[in-house]
Subunit: 154 residues, 2 copies
């Protein structure tokens, strides 16, 4: 979490076309199973022999875990030093390839568009494209919006 002093990213800095490397995360086998047991108890997330014999060739991660792993990279690499507010939602979320335990996923964020908020003076809405890649294979794509504070409004 940021303190007020550490903010370096404002609405003003989120210029369309700007790209952030969000770093990497490794998909943990136990976390995959814990998450699936709690939130997404389906056979291809939990039943190892059946998953191994299926088209997947092994257990795959819940798509909601993959989304949460993206969120963590985004929060650590960008939001931790941003004047960021909540998000109204996601325009598109795609699970492009199955994700497995041990996969190393690299996050990427691109600023697509932005506009000052009419309802929230001093803030702007930024449209962002988030992605996770395993090597050159995209596994998650997420187009979403976030509210950010304007530097001059502080």
């Amino acid at each position: 979490m940021r303190s007020e002093q550490s903010v370096t990213i404002w609405y003003d800095d989120l210029v369309p076309g700007r790209v952030f490397d969000l770093g990497t995360t490794v998909v943990d086998r136990d976390e995959m199973r814990d998450f699936a047991r709690r939130y997404d108890p389906q056979w291809y997330h939990l039943d190892e022999p059946r998953a191994a014999a299926s088209e997947f060739g092994g257990l795959i991660a819940s798509g909601w875990l993959t989304a949460a792993l993206f969120m963590r990279l985004y929060a650590e690499a960008v939001l931790a030093t941003a004047d960021a507010h909540t998000s109204p939602g996601v325009e598109e979320l795609r699970w492009l390839a199955a994700v497995y335990a041990g996969d190393v996923l690299r996050g990427r964020l691109e600023v697509l568009d932005r506009a000052p908020s009419t309802a929230r003076p001093g803030k702007g809405t930024v449209t962002l494209l988030g992605e996770l890649h395993r090597d050159s294979v995209p596994v998650l794509r997420c187009r979403f919006r976030g509210w950010f504070g304007m530097r001059d409004a502080q």
Copy 2:
């Protein structure tokens, strides 16, 4: 998880307009914090005094936890007895209101549309509208697609 014997919901049964009551879940304070620490470490999810003094009036749940709670209700009420395959993704995900510890959320699922899959013989793509409500207040809306097996293809 279903066994092959317990399937009662096929593509054929997911007629546009059909509505499922997914039951309820209670948002747990510890789970809210654990989830936020792991995946969404932002002040309005973790910093209680600051959240209490903010427009939120207290800690709010990560939107990704809310989505995961919807997934659990959907998995238990529908997928557990469905011939369900994975999902290509989400068309729209909206966080419509802040969610707090102790909130009782009721899930609702509506079949919006469906079409046989051209790429996957014996399966069809179903477009679904998922919602979570706290009393009469919608807090999450999610329009997504899922692949389901056809009864006659088995």
